[in-house]
Symmetry: D2
Subunit: 342 residues, 4 copies
């Protein structure tokens, strides 16, 4: 039984972490902090947790968190980079669900995130927490950078093709669609029900913060800089990301076989039969990426469809998966959830 | 470990039963039958169950079902009444999620359901499976009539008031709103996304089949015939029922205390603080009824708000709860699910 | 051709007024003001108006508005009461879409709206702009208080019963459901897509600001204080209100005939055949209230179903209807819109 | 004043045609036919049309339709090809909203639509009714093939680039997302609210019937066979198509200038400023295509965003636009509708 703390748990990744940790047999939730809501019972803010989580939000207090075995940062970008160091020095292992430690190139990070990095010296140590790529390193990591939601869906879809050198990596296209919970729980006009419902739009076409993160991961796999056009869209779902990936084949190959082989032992990636159409709801609430490969009309363009629940495999679920790996628990523990459908 | 069978599991109560039983530690799913889809893998029809349920739908076969300890009927009305008898005689315990055994008055049942009852002799034995009323009888029952979704929400909301004789039972009003999954998975124009989305309407105001079921339960509690106006509405949710209940107070009382006392030991009923507004999403995916009592403006009209997930506490979850009671399992086993929010 | 001004047109009633006035043949939109968005083109904030409305938001400037024939206040509560007087003195006719002039009893208004009224002397002059009740007075009014959305739906549904003395007015019940646009365009967490979608809840059960407004209108019709329990709910629609009204019959009568007779000459009230179920989408985008009367199971409880589009007959459309009456235009001008379905 | 008939008006394109024609000043709706619903009042099936359309559906009767000036086929594929000929011979002009006359290559049509074409001799005469390409020919046409919804959005987005020879036409990508009304009003399980709501998926990736139609139009513009990967998706909107188009630049150019120039005189195409993100709701209910051009990160990949309302510019609105052109009416007549937002 390890002791876990959560910093900043009032958003959607926070409540999702709570949902998962509340039933995790090896974890005791020691503390959850919130500057603005200290003193409020967690179950008052999230009635879904009545009878499940009995603690209150507390003021961020180093001494409390320092007594934990693991601390999750479910904070906005720019918090973990200031507070992780102290915790690491106290022997706490840290999983950051925000973007502070995802990009290895400090200047790129600072450009895309519009602030100075507070702990550039930690970037080298931080492990990018995509278990399907870095499981071994994660198991030993002190500091894990939990991947973004789009980057999870897009990388898992492209990796088998790129690792095998099958596609032209200079002109990759990722057309991705996200449910609205990806924008978090901030009160912003654009995410009101009356604005986002019965509506579909692209956004950030000129450049989205997940672009450099995806590009970094794919370039590592390609062993060269990749060229990527990434167009995110907002679609009226609460949860779910659907990435439609396009690449031009440089060589012929058994695409289905390659995907199945790549993910044969992965408990949280499901390669569907060739030509399938994975639906976002088929992973709703679950820590799972479902993939399907297509080669429409037999042309030289391969299409990969990749779906995740952005709050689970795209955030809190993957964070618990990383924790399980870090502490040597069975990897499915606490996240072995059957998707809820309909 | 008991062996369970499901008859007719291709609808929403079927897939929900599968979601719950797939993780129930004391149950082995022996067979699931479907006339129209025999031979299809369950996980092909419901990709959410890929890797979870590996069996195929099979033709209804008495000998297979007769070897089960319990059989769930997740069929349309009118099937269980024909097939339950044979199973009971074979020593199988039966839980009917349809309406065949819910109404004790055969002629009333035949009027509302528009068909002749095939096993009127079983009606006396059948136990109405609302554990908060009939737990003891359920534990010994061979045949359980699992309550309807509206009846569950409405009865749990009205019972404390009626049992204590606090309200005028001649003029009860239940204004109930249901998500669209309550209509099942039948292909009907009125439940198409383009019809039911961004729309709200009442239906069946002149008389809905759940009216006699609710009236029967409330009349038993009142020990006299109650008068009830029941108006169901269709609202653009997938899951969820919200019942808004109105009654005129005949006597003054500590309403909140009475509700809390009534449900003190109930694992699946949550009485919120006086004046709360339970949301349907706060029970999404969970076997739970949340209630709140109001007395607006101090008038003599009491308002009770009652929410359930129609597919869980209103159907499959309650069926598993009944099974747990029947077989002496710990009542929460397999249905101790944290609601999914957002 | 009259000149119209809009104060505070950046919200949903504002954009809806613009949609309607943009095509009104007798109105020239002279100015639209906004403190926060002065200098922004209207069509930049509302791309739906590109090519339709070419002006910019301007700072509120008395001299511009004073040159208008009519000024609409599409502002939060508490603005019109400060600014209407000056305009009235300049000979401008004023239609307030907020609540400042709806309640005749100053102290009641101040209690419910939590502020001191700035122009109590105007309350007597202000005409409550429900044309189906006050058409004659509206035609001569300088100052019209445009009704609230719930009050429009509830009053139109109850009025025929109350005016004819057919029901017990001490125990009226209005169970009302509103789409989310009724909450306006303010950025508040509770109205985010991820909060309000796939969810249903009651709110303000202990007391909603529209309660005294409805009670005032019904009491005038009843010629005595009525008793009303009003429970509003939030439902995942963008537009639409569905009011389900309950009353106990004090006398027998031809209910359908009374409703049809009452609204025979009303261009914007449609009495459907007895037993119908009006849907909110059947009035989407249109200035229309559809009603249906029920007497379920022949009991002494009458049920009236009433639907409107909260932004049209519940706000901007009714405001234009009032303007048409005030200026002697044909009443349907500019608001003779066919509902959009699906 | 011309006389119009509608064949098969019980679906969504039918009710949308009725909404538009009900207010068209130059058109008298003479008859609307339906085999299954003859005798039903139109306003009973579509309560939104109560008080607007007073006629009944009638049995298809050649003599009635032959007396019309124009007949719209709002039927499933395969009907117009059988019935158009007789009407044309009677001097009636025909607009087919289905696909019967869209593809000039009979064998391609028969392959994709899975039936034998009943009037191949009419294919040469039929004009493809995309006014932005064929306005002149439409004005003289007897028989107009109204374009599909996806083809309208995709062609309008790609045409300026292809006509100017700016892109590699061998590898075009159209990633398109459609609201559910595009699937029509047929009762099919997959389009139920409980299936299509809160869900996102691709479909028909291996080949969709709109692919040959789009390819034909783009190839005509390119003056050579184009290569196109077309991936349609289903998104939980009622109305709306969002096409995200990708092409590789073969030459440098003032992309924004080219789009603005191409559509300068088009009343129903709106080129937004470079870098804009058109939303589907910004054209909801209106006969309009809004476009925006992007060149993300300055790469050689151009991205075009194109939105329409699939039932208006993608179906009934474009049909009325074609009718206006055919009969010499002012092109905006009856379809000069301001989009409804929110």
């Amino acid at each position: 039984m390890i002791k876990a703390g959560i910093v900043g748990g009032t958003g959607y990744t926070g409540v999702e972490l709570l949902r998962l940790l509340a039933k995790h047999p090896d974890v005791k939730l020691e503390a959850i902090t919130s500057r603005s809501d200290a003193g409020t019972k967690v179950s008052e803010m999230f009635p879904s947790l009545r009878g499940r989580v009995d603690i209150e939000f507390v003021q961020p207090a180093p001494e409390i968190l320092a007594g934990c075995d693991v601390v999750f940062f479910a904070t906005p970008n720019g918090i973990a980079m200031k507070e992780a160091k102290m915790l690491l020095e106290a022997g706490v292992r840290v999983i950051d669900l925000a973007a502070d430690f995802r990009i290895r190139d400090v200047s790129a990070w600072e450009k895309w995130y519009g602030m100075k990095h507070a702990s550039p010296e930690l970037l080298e140590e931080a492990i990018y927490g995509l278990p399907e790529v870095n499981r071994e390193a994660i198991s030993k990591a002190r500091l894990v950078a939990n991947p973004g939601c789009y980057p999870t869906a897009v990388q898992l879809g492209f990796l088998p093709l790129i690792e095998e050198g099958l596609v032209d990596v200079d002109h990759l296209i990722a057309d991705a669609k996200s449910g609205v919970s990806g924008a978090g729980k901030k009160a912003e006009t654009g995410f009101l029900f009356s604005e986002a419902s019965d509506n579909f739009k692209a956004y950030g076409v000129s450049g989205h913060r997940h672009l450099p993160e995806i590009r970094q991961g794919l370039s590592l796999a390609a062993k060269k800089e990749v060229g990527l056009t990434f167009v995110p869209h907002l679609t009226p779902l609460i949860r779910g990301i659907h990435a439609t990936l396009y690449a031009r084949l440089a060589a012929d190959a058994d695409l289905q076989g390659i995907f199945e082989e790549r993910y044969r032992d992965e408990p949280f990636v499901d390669v569907m039969p060739m030509g399938s159409h994975p639906e976002t709801r088929s992973v709703r609430g679950a820590n799972l990426c479902r993939l399907a490969v297509h080669r429409p009309q037999g042309s030289d363009t391969v299409v990969v469809l990749s779906v995740i629940d952005n709050l689970v495999k795209g955030a809190a679920g993957q964070a618990v998966q990383n924790m399980n790996i870090m502490f040597g628990f069975q990897e499915q523990t606490g996240i072995d959830i059957v998707p809820i459908l309909p």
